[in-house]
């Protein structure tokens, strides 16, 4: 075999061996223990900070909201869909004897017209979508520029929750 072909094969052998070597070195240690992924990834994801508590947690303290909401149209909504992530609030709210929570633990109270129409905005593409196949119902839509925009008596701007109870609309 000519000298240069031998060298070429040698060079390729070096590259391949180097690659295999790197492959064993760089392969994450916990890889493949359970499946084709890093087993540590599960642990790492468990350590991630949580933000949401879930409605069941909320109603432990806010019993009246539960009874309100259960019979209304918003029965299926999670509290935190409107109030925002509330895990910290749910964990620490009862630590304050006088019931006065610091600002950092207070939750958002979505009262403005903008916030209800996130779900109720008139939207041509959504009309056909059946939200709940059993009741064959869908999220009702309103045109926020027309639906009771101002109070006819004094022309003050109206917000949705003046007429609709958000927990039992």
């Amino acid at each position: 075999m000519p000298q240069h072909i031998k060298r070429l094969i040698g060079a390729f052998a070096v590259v391949i061996i180097l690659f295999l070597l790197l492959q064993t070195i760089l392969r994450p240690t916990s890889f493949g223990k359970i499946g084709h992924y890093r087993a540590d990834a599960i642990q790492e994801n468990k350590m991630k900070e949580l933000h949401y508590a879930g409605s069941d947690k909320c109603t432990k303290c806010h019993e009246e909201m539960k009874t309100d909401k259960e019979v209304g149209f918003h029965a299926t909504l999670q509290c935190e869909a409107c109030h925002g992530p509330g895990l910290k609030h749910a964990m620490y709210a009862d630590k304050f004897k006088d019931g006065k929570l610091p600002d950092s633990l207070m939750l958002h109270k979505p009262g403005s017209r903008k916030e209800c129409v996130i779900c109720h905005q008139l939207n041509a593409a959504r009309v056909k979508i059946v939200f709940d196949t059993i009741n064959n119902s869908m999220i009702k839509q309103i045109d926020p520029m027309k639906h009771n925009l101002v109070d006819k008596r004094n022309f003050a701007k109206l917000v949705c929750i003046e007429c609709h109870n958000p927990h039992q609309p």
């Binding site: 000519p2 000298q3 240069h4 060298r7 070429l8 590259v15 760089l26 392969r27 992530p85 041509a124």
Partner: protein
């Protein structure tokens, strides 16, 4: 919470109709457009070089070396748009150390390596080894060291050794053509196999990608050749250019017909996704699809090159035509990739709505980043042309010794 809602309002203003939450923002941006574009240029340039070698088309000889080096310079950059698109680019190597057969992307790493190491580098090495040894004797300093090292310090330039190089190089070329087809067919496969997306999911995708790749690669080599001869103030080899142009015409024609076939098929079967795609094509994609890809990139080049098949104007005019048409085709193919990658994400998989694509100038996914990855291959190409000038090779016909 309020800033979340602010952000939601901002992004919702880009949306028409109903889209799923994860469709509001496009995740595959211009860098993912570049990736099939650049791999296409590689495969196309290589196939042009192989035409010369396998079918012994000696008229194409002036572009052989240029085509190979162009393929190599773009190949070295092909994965970079993908890597810089990643949120964690430093983890990119993990796809290579923990490959899985069920991941098309993981296997692509190996298709890429095969093509780079076993096809391109080997073919260039066999082609240049003798010249590197000769040039090493004529130069000094770093250049001499580079030639020495790259020829693996070999010294044998006897006719027998050179004949063996040519034979092996020929074999590599023969392996190379299906490999180039595989490389680019694979890129099309990655898109074509996403069955949830009716704009992508077609078995024709690999074939269409392949032919558009050949078209773009040939145009690129044509343009590079014209520019190089102009810089070196040489007379351009018109028979060579004319031959390239006629290949370009035929392959562009095939590409056009294939893409047309795909669309006709889509129109004829008119699946439930048809309405949403119809609106997409005549709405958000109108400019890039009909004007840029269709008119500029396909119809004008087809008509001009087609005319040249019957009627040959003066050399000056032909040269001007080639200089204008090749960039047009390059732009057209770029927008073909754009229409596939971006177009496939503009409509909702619920078929009820559309989102839109905005791209910034700066940032990791902006125009500047994309321009950067398009310029780097040309810098590499200039370096390679300086190190391995094809025009300084001792002229011999390797085919004669093989044949």
């Amino acid at each position: 919470m309020t800033q979340h809602i602010q952000h939601l309002y901002e992004v919702l203003s880009k949306v028409d109709g109903y889209v799923y939450p994860n469709e509001i923002e496009l995740n595959w941006s211009i860098l993912i457009v570049l990736y099939p574009y650049i791999t296409g240029l590689v495969a196309g340039a290589f196939i042009l070089a192989s035409l010369e070698r396998i079918f012994k088309l000696h008229v194409l000889r002036p572009t052989y070396g240029i085509a190979l080096l162009t393929a190599l310079s773009f190949m070295l950059v092909a994965t970079m748009p993908l890597v810089s698109h990643l949120g964690k680019p430093l983890r990119a190597y993990e796809i290579m150390v923990t490959p899985h057969l069920s991941s098309a992307m993981a296997i692509f790493g190996f298709v890429y390596l095969w093509y780079l190491m076993v096809v391109l580098l080997l073919e260039i090495w066999f082609d240049y080894r003798r010249d590197m040894i000769i040039w090493a004797g004529e130069t000094t300093g770093l250049k001499r060291f580079l030639y020495r090292a790259l020829s693996l310090w070999s010294t044998d330039i006897s006719p027998k050794a050179v004949a063996l190089d040519n034979k092996l190089g020929y074999i590599v070329t023969i392996i190379g053509v299906p490999s180039a087809f595989l490389l680019h067919g694979y890129v099309g496969f990655i898109f074509g196999s996403i069955k949830a997306n009716p704009w992508w999911s077609t078995v024709l995708m690999p074939v269409i990608f392949l032919f558009s790749a050949i078209v773009s690669g040939i145009s690129l080599v044509m343009l590079v050749y014209i520019v190089i001869t102009r810089i070196r103030k040489l007379k351009i080899d018109m028979p060579c250019l004319d031959t390239i142009a006629s290949y370009l015409f035929y392959i562009l024609l095939i590409d056009f017909v294939l893409e047309g076939l795909d669309q006709i098929h889509r129109i004829y079967i008119a699946e439930e996704s048809f309405d949403v795609l119809h609106n997409l094509v005549f709405g958000r994609l109108f400019f890039t699809l009909f004007i840029m890809q269709g008119l500029i990139g396909t119809v004008i080049p087809l008509l001009t090159l087609g005319t040249l098949q019957f009627y040959k104007p003066k050399i000056q005019i032909r040269k001007a035509i080639y200089t204008i048409i090749s960039p047009l085709i390059l732009i057209g193919i770029f927008f073909m990739r754009w229409n596939v990658v971006i177009g496939g994400q503009l409509f909702s998989k619920s078929f009820y709505g559309y989102t839109s694509f905005k791209i910034g100038l700066i940032g990791t996914e902006g125009y500047l980043m994309a321009a950067f990855w398009l310029i780097v291959p040309f810098i590499i190409l200039s370096f390679l042309l300086w190190l391995f000038p094809p025009w300084k090779k001792k002229e011999d016909d390797h085919e004669i010794q093989v044949g």
